[in-house]
């Protein structure tokens, strides 16, 4: 290791100006990355980690963003004050980036060959035949099978994992010295995440490059990073070697972060609890129609002959990768989409109920959605959002009675009720999810479908929400259908688990059995990927 680091960020600050108000997002941050080293920048959302990474290549929206102080020295040259032309030579050549969302990082209108070729061409790779050969080589390196056939593929023809591989191929095409990876696996399934992380680690060694890895997931950090910088509120509070930080955290925030994993045990399994909801042979098929007469030639079997049973006061966790049909199953059970098969709620067969037949039952069957930013109408105050269901199901309430119910529901989920006249954008993600839970709880439901209620939240907030949900369940004997891909959260809340894949049940049983002694290869692979970030043998999981 030579004396000068490859990248040296000194006293970097980032400020944003909006409507005359300036707020500092990153406050005098300093860190170094040496040759061949992986440095992880860890923090929760809003901590400024992405903004810091983007400012290395000056990719923020200027002039709204500005740098009141700091230097970004890359091989001794300051990138912050560099000329645009110099910077363009560095971008995509010496320093490259991969982003979180492989869906939107690729241009949907160009085949992947052109997108990888473009970056080679921009940085002066020879004739077209060379570019093609190099593109092919890169695709093979990142593990795209049948790379030659895939050259002409468009992004929508690839899976999420393959797209992220293409992004990596683009980033590595010019043999960069530094790769900045901004949450590259957050949008992927755990099994694919393990594959991508392994790929990044292998390529990093082969290319002898350095990596700046931005993530909120401490499991990944432990797996991949040499050194860690912990960020909060725009400041780096602790830096050190990975093992040291994990074994012996110094700063309170690091300790808090390490302790933040969803903890606690689910309510014990009770086989005698009354059954609230059952589904018998539930089927959601989307027909594929072809030809002039629109004949149904085949079906996409999103949910295929599934039997479920949810008991009062118990939680059924439904886990699976994206596209496994777990959310569709939940929507079918709550009659938000039409389905075949019998659905029984509290002794009523609701499988054939129309939307207006369902209306009286809606107060008993509630849903908490995944995205707390999308599930609250931005134009309604919190009191209106929480009170909306009451005005439908209990129209006899006076305004004051309704208000006191809203206040009670907000206090129950741990929010200050005096904030109820504010609008959703003034709340953080965790607070918003509490509001969404209050909206469901104010109606005193019997059955709640929780559709990934924690996946958009930070780890420490996840733990709080899980605790809140468990308390509410205990208090009101609620039946939960808990849908998640995050097995850590499921373990903390569910007492029965159903593993789904391609619309079918792979495995079903008490939570302890599924987690501790999985029977099928697929479940084993899922557990290994989620808890150990281990790659499954090929063929067991998707790419």
């Amino acid at each position: 290791m030579s004396g000068t680091p490859l990248l040296s960020v000194r006293d970097l600050s980032v400020a944003f100006t909006q409507g005359g108000e300036t707020s500092v997002a990153v406050d005098r941050v300093s860190f170094d990355i040496n040759d061949g080293e992986t440095v992880a920048l860890v923090g929760e959302s809003g901590s400024g980690k992405s903004v810091s990474a983007l400012s290395i290549l000056r990719l923020l929206q200027y002039p709204a963003a500005s740098h009141p102080s700091g230097q970004v020295l890359f091989q001794g040259k300051d990138l912050l004050s560099a000329h645009d032309k110099t910077l363009r030579k560095v971008r995509g050549d010496d320093v490259t980036m991969i982003f979180q969302e492989p869906m939107t990082s690729l241009n949907p209108l160009h085949p992947i060959e052109r997108q990888i070729g473009e970056i080679l061409k921009l940085h002066g790779a020879g004739p077209d035949t060379d570019i093609r050969a190099r593109t092919l080589e890169m695709l093979e390196q990142v593990g795209i099978r049948d790379a030659e056939k895939r050259l002409k593929a468009y992004p929508h023809q690839l899976s999420g994992g393959q797209r992220q591989r293409v992004m990596i191929a683009m980033a590595l095409a010019n043999r960069p010295k530094l790769l900045i990876a901004d949450e590259p696996t957050t949008a992927l399934d755990v099994t694919v995440q393990a594959q991508i992380l392994l790929l990044l680690d292998t390529l990093k060694r082969e290319h002898r490059m350095s990596m700046l890895f931005i993530t909120h997931d401490l499991g990944i950090v432990r797996k991949i990073a040499d050194r860690v910088c912990v960020m909060t509120d725009g400041k780096i509070v602790e830096t050190g070697a990975t093992e040291e930080i994990f074994q012996n955290p110094q700063h309170d925030y690091t300790k808090h972060l390490l302790a933040a994993e969803p903890k606690g045990k689910p309510i014990p399994l009770n086989d005698n609890a009354p059954v609230v909801m059952t589904g018998d042979g539930v089927r959601v098929w989307f027909p594929i129609r072809k030809g002039f007469m629109r004949r149904t030639v085949d079906n996409v079997k999103a949910v295929d002959e599934i039997d479920v049973r949810v008991r009062s006061g118990q939680t059924l966790g439904v886990v699976g990768e994206s596209g496994s049909g777990k959310t569709t199953l939940g929507l079918a059970l709550t009659r938000m989409i039409s389905s075949d098969g019998q659905i029984n709620f509290n002794g009523q067969d609701i499988g054939e109920y129309s939307f207006s037949d369902m209306r009286p039952l809606r107060s008993d069957i509630q849903i908490v959605f995944q995205d707390p930013f999308g599930s609250l109408s931005p134009r309604m105050s919190i009191a209106e959002i929480v009170g909306e269901g009451l005005s439908i199901h209990e129209p006899s309430l006076t305004r004051d009675e309704r208000d006191s119910r809203v206040v009670a529901a907000l206090e129950e989920v741990g929010l200050d009720a005096s904030t109820r006249f504010r609008y959703p954008h003034e709340f953080s993600g965790g607070q918003r999810q509490r509001i969404a839970i209050a909206r469901a709880m104010v109606l005193k439901p019997k059955f709640v479908m929780l559709d990934e209620p924690t996946s958009a939240l930070d780890m420490s907030v996840q733990a709080q929400i899980v605790d809140l949900l468990r308390d509410l369940q205990r208090k009101y004997d609620l039946a939960y259908l808990f849908i998640s891909h995050d097995l850590k959260v499921v373990r903390a809340l569910a007492n029965e688990v159903m593993v789904m894949r391609n619309g079918k049940i792979v495995e079903f049983g008490p939570a302890e059995q599924i987690f501790d002694d999985p029977q099928t290869e697929y479940t084993k692979a899922l557990m290994a990927a989620a808890f150990e970030i281990e790659v499954a043998p090929s063929g067991v999981v998707n790419e």
């Binding site: 901590s47 400024g48 903004v51 439908i392 953080s428």
Partner: protein
Amino acid sequence: MDQSAPLSGTKAATRPARRPFLSPLNQRRWQNFKANRRGYWSLWIFLALFILSMFAEFIANDRPILASYKGELLTPVFRNYSERVLFPDDPLALPRIDFTDPFIQDEIKAEGWMIWPPIRYSYRTVNKEVPTAAPSKPAFLFDGREELCGRYLDGVEDPNCTGGNFNWLGTDDQARDVLARLIYGFRISVLFGLILTAASAVVGVTFGAIQGYFGGWTDLIGQRMIEIWSSMPVLYLLLIIAAILPPGFWILLGIMLLFSWVSFVGIVRAEFLRARNFEYVNAARALGVRNRTIMFRHLLPNAMVATLTFLPFILNGSITTLTALDFLGFGLPPGSASLGELILQGKNNLQAPWLGFSGFIVISLMLSLLIFIGEATRDAFDPRKTFA
């Protein structure tokens, strides 16, 4: 990570829990609107002109605003008075007092007083004492009062030789005051545009909302109907219908409404299609909220942004269409104050350029102001707009 998160999270703690008059979102929009100085000033100028023109009867009228006769207070601006008020015993008394008649003026002045509006002509008043043959040129083009008041009984000494009786922008070919006609014409154009726009917005938003929200066959059939409907040759239809039905403000409005609502459907439908699968709409469905309520409470505010942005341009289109029809002679009934008719007169009387010019200037001023306001509105509602 959401880049805007550190920006919005900072000041939440200090805001009082009390509900402000404008929601924070609308406050920011109003700030954005004000930041467009041209649009902001245009709004105030337009509002001033519009409100002034709403009181056109008090500005340009051939009757006094207020008169006193033998201690009795008369308000000729609001109602007609029979000549029996002045001459109770006259068997030949006319049903209406003509306040421009010098004899009557003398009678009232002898027994009381009267306050005239600044311009003593209404849009249909014929100036019986035009200085030259109609169309007569603007007052400021004459050499002094002698020439202007040449037709009055006592010349310059005549009590009617005052500013209010001069035709400041000349007269048209029927010796009616151009300025008075402009004021009334502005009013009728803007009112026509506003009513037409509001009515077509209501119809168009309703249709667009239904199509977008329900989608599927509703949308398919609705869209095909609209395609057929909007491919009708509107101008020909207007001409044919205008030839059958008696021309009039409301009939014209109705005919144009038949076709103008279509322009709203596209954007509103698109907004509803986009937003009907938003998670908060699904959340409302899960609460059991009725379709109509979802459309009004959750989806309409989304669509209103696009609609409001569109509104000033539709308003402009409506005004232009009315002017064009008037110009062609198929618009408002003859004799109404109309900018299009003034332009037509300008075309027919090229020797009197003040007709064409004044009509042109007022129309272009009005349309420009509305476009500037529209631009500022678009800025205000632009969600991506940030000010450095």
